[in-house]
């Protein structure tokens, strides 16, 4: 099994897709094959529906990691 990356909001435009399957491993490795700008201090991450920090994150097969840009205002 692979890891599923999900890109919300404008990050889907940055990534070029709204979701992508990649091989398991450290987040830093996974990001190497992706466009720059997906991670920033304003982008939050959710691993299997729970907010997590990017530092030291390692993805296992079956995991879903979502990239969440700031939510839109009213």
């Amino acid at each position: 099994m692979s890891v599923r990356l999900v890109f919300l909001g404008r990050l889907a435009d940055v990534a070029g897709v709204s979701a992508k399957e990649v091989a398991p491993g450290p987040l830093t490795d996974l990001l190497r094959g992706l466009p720059a700008g997906l991670l920033s201090p304003r982008v939050k991450l959710a691993l299997n529906g729970m907010l997590v920090q990017a530092e030291g994150l390692v993805l296992d097969s079956g995991d879903e990691l979502a990239f969440l840009p700031p939510v839109s205002g009213g």
Binding site: L8, R10, G49, A66, V71, G73
Partner: protein, 153 residues
């Protein structure tokens, strides 16, 4: 069931929703509501709201429970559309039923402020055939600050 929280991918009728909510809470003297709709008369041709299923509805449900814990309410309703909408379509309906008017107003106001700024929705607008993502508004943070909440995580 005191909290009626829904994420809707189809158009809904806010008048019927409000009437049913008021009927369900006849012990409440008052119902305050806020209805947000896609503005007409602008150059916005369509609005698209994205959500992220593992977070969005659970976040709305947590907000509903928080509102119920903070004010003495008979009930709270939070309905939110996702997907593509046209001008005039309803986006969000929030309602609070309470014995005392002030509680109903404050609860609905609080729910809207937190829904707009802390819920997991991403919005884009279509203008002249092009989609544009909408960024956070400074006003939302000012609205939130009124409640003296701890800063956002």
């Amino acid at each position: 069931m005191a909290a009626d929280i829904r994420l809707l991918d189809q158009a809904f009728d806010p008048g019927a929703a409000l009437a049913a909510f008021a009927d369900a809470h006849q012990r409440a003297g008052g119902v305050t509501s806020f209805l947000g709709q896609v503005r007409g008369g602008d150059d916005v041709e369509a609005l698209d709201l994205q959500h992220y299923a593992p977070l969005t509805l659970p976040g709305m449900e947590a907000l509903g429970e928080e509102v119920l814990a903070r004010w003495p309410l008979d009930g709270v309703l939070i309905w939110h559309r996702v997907g593509e909408m046209l001008p005039g379509d309803s986006i969000v309906l929030v309602a609070a039923a309470a014995r005392h008017r002030r509680d109903a107003f404050e609860a609905a106001d609080y729910a809207m402020d937190h829904l707009k700024s802390q819920s997991w929705f991403w919005k884009r607008e279509k203008r002249a055939g092009q989609w544009h993502w909408i960024e956070p508004r400074v006003q939302d943070h000012a609205d939130l600050a009124r409640w003296n909440d701890p800063p956002e995580a």
